[in-house]
């Protein structure tokens, strides 16, 4: 069966993924809304920056984040002046890194969902006395619900699968930064193949079930619109 340290790593991973997903829901929604609605030329560059983690090697992202959050980086200086110490090699450092790392997995499905809603429902809501903010909550959110579910699942699952960024930012501290993917790496390094197998199987099943859930609940093609 799974060892205590395995369970600890799984619990840490789940906590990291859940917190990251929640934070990204709050940050990603306005970014996606802005990207879906804006007509300024900024849309291109900002969209590209958001998508960067898709193609960047995690070690590159981790390296820059390490510099920024380290004692001499701008973020590090800020956190130190606030009396928070520095973020690398802490759980919250991992959270910050994961937010950057998983940003496109939240923003892109949401942006698609918002763009698919189109202009018309917003206009209809306006003619029915709904202010823009009211429209967002009473029309856009319900209509974009499938997009939110997809974005949430993808973000959670992607954060669970993170490895390179964790190594760069978090290292390998049990209970603080040693997530499941790092734990497997440790098992393999120590030639504990049986332990590695068990944890790897858990990760595989989890990933499959998440994707299965997403594909099964994908909405049927609309008919007779």
């Amino acid at each position: 069966m799974l060892t205590d340290s395995d369970l600890q790593a799984i619990w840490l991973t789940a906590r990291l993924a859940a917190i990251t997903t929640l934070i990204l829901l709050l940050i990603g929604t306005p970014i996606a809304w802005w990207l879906a609605r804006t007509r300024t030329w900024w849309k291109g560059p900002i969209g590209a920056v958001v998508a960067l983690p898709l193609v960047l090697p995690p070690s590159v992202l981790g390296f820059y984040l390490l510099l920024a959050m380290g004692p001499h980086g701008p973020v590090g200086q800020l956190t130190q002046s606030l009396g928070l110490g520095t973020l690398p090699f802490t759980f919250w450092g991992l959270v910050v890194a994961s937010v950057f790392y998983s940003l496109p997995f939240m923003v892109q499905p949401l942006q698609n969902a918002f763009e698919n809603i189109g202009e018309r429902p917003l206009e209809v809501a306006a003619t029915l006395r709904a202010s823009p903010l009211d429209t967002f909550f009473s029309v856009v959110l319900p209509l974009a619900k499938p997009g939110f579910i997809t974005a949430g699942i993808l973000t959670f699952a992607h954060t669970v699968g993170e490895f390179g960024v964790v190594l760069m930012i978090g290292g390998n501290i049990p209970g603080i930064t040693r997530v499941a993917s790092v734990q497997i790496y440790d098992h393999v390094e120590a030639m504990e193949y049986a332990d590695a197998h068990r944890l790897a199987a858990v990760m595989l099943s989890f990933s499959f079930l998440v994707l299965l859930a997403m594909y099964v609940r994908r909405p049927k093609p609309a008919k007779g619109r």
Binding site: R120, P121, E123, V124, A125, A126, T127, L128, R129, A130, S131, P132, D134, S138, V139, P142, L143, K145, A222, K223, G224, R225
Partner: protein
């Protein structure tokens, strides 16, 4: 249609817009009546929908002024966003919220409108005959049903003006026939002004009291429906739809021959009895192609409707071989389409007394 004596100065809609898009300019300056149905009529691309959207605040023209019954909705300093304008809007294609059922759609505006009343919702449901649909989801409704719900939803907010953007255009003929009676009820029962965008002469003839004819972003004619349609210089091609609309009343039903006599200012016309009760006000549409003229008594003819008239004026028609002749019959005007040759042979000229033979008329309740 609605004989009231309201103060005309502030009971009006004044709209002046200028909007420049690549390849299209809207440039209008209009005063619209605040009662009855006003049709914004024109071919596609004439700017009628854009004008309606400007009035709703869905487009923001670079410069413009809009006053509704003395209240400013837009000028240099003022911009009232759409959600603060007391309008009801019906979109061309179905626009129901798919995440709500029919009742949820109807209540959406109701909950947010200060002027809406419970009674208004029930009235709207009754008026559009959608009582049995309330629990359904929009994607289970037919196109006609959806549009009826859309109209009811716009009415349920208790608007001070109803704006309709070709509410029938996306429907097939059968669905159109299904909805038209409801629109006619709106015309009869609502006491708010209704702006109705359409490119269909038939819909306009049935529903409108006032018409604004648009072409290439400009207003090329506007006025009361009957007068405007009888103009010879209407700068828009109507083809086979050139004709006039007369306000009339059903006089007598001849049950032996299944005919009804309708009386208008200028005479009477016999038409098929469609079960409209005597005394009821109706509209009669007479197309120019169905009217012919004779200078001597034509004698026995299969044509039942022959009236005495006098040529009032003559105008060009779209085809060089054709003419449009405006004939005064009593205090009404009719249009007749003639070939130039027959007009020349008959010696048609202003002032000439003629027999007006009307082959067919369309009765509209």
């Amino acid at each position: 249609m609605h004989p009231t004596s309201q103060d005309a100065s502030d009971a009006r809609i004044e709209a002046r817009f200028r909007l420049d898009w690549p390849g299209f300019t809207l440039d209008v300056d209009l005063k619209l009546p605040s009662r009855g149905v006003t049709a914004l009529f024109g071919h596609s691309g004439s700017g009628k929908t854009t004008l309606l959207r400007c009035i709703a605040g869905l487009e923001r023209p670079s410069c413009g002024r809009l006053a509704f019954k003395g209240k400013i909705w837009q000028d240099e300093k003022t911009w009232l966003p759409t959600y603060q304008r007391p309008i009801g809007y019906v979109f061309q294609e179905t626009s129901l919220f798919t995440h709500l059922n029919v009742l949820g759609n109807l209540r959406f505006g109701l909950q947010r409108s200060a002027t809406a009343q419970r009674v208004g919702l029930e009235q709207a449901i009754e008026l559009l005959g959608i009582d049995h649909l309330l629990a359904r989801k929009p994607d289970t409704l037919s196109g006609g049903e959806r549009q009826r719900v859309g109209i009811a939803r716009a009415l349920a907010v208790g608007p001070e003006i109803l704006l309709m953007d070709e509410p029938l255009a996306a429907l097939d003929l059968k669905r159109k026939q299904e909805i038209l009676p409801y629109l006619e009820r709106l015309h009869d029962e609502l006491d708010i002004p209704l702006l109705y965008v359409s490119h269909s002469p038939d819909e306009v003839a049935r529903l409108a009291d006032h018409i604004v004819v648009m072409d290439e972003g400009r207003v090329v004619a506007d006025g009361p429906l009957g007068e405007t349609l009888a103009r010879l210089d209407l700068p828009i091609r109507l083809g086979e739809d050139v004709g006039v609309v007369l306000d009339a009343m059903v006089g007598v039903i001849d049950s032996e021959w299944h005919l009804a006599r309708v009386d208008f200012a200028g005479g009477s016309l016999w038409t098929r009895d469609r079960g409209v009760a005597p005394g009821k006000r109706v509209r009669v549409r007479v197309l120019a192609r169905d009217v012919s003229l004779a200078v001597t008594d034509p004698g026995a003819s299969s044509i039942q409707n022959i009236l005495d008239g006098r040529v009032e004026s003559i105008g060009d028609d779209e085809h060089p071989g054709l003419l449009l002749v405006r004939v005064q019959v009593g205090s009404s005007l009719l249009l007749a389409r003639l070939t130039r040759r027959s007009a020349a042979q008959l010696g048609i000229a202003p002032g000439l007394p003629v027999s007006v033979q009307i082959k067919s008329v369309a009765l509209m309740e």
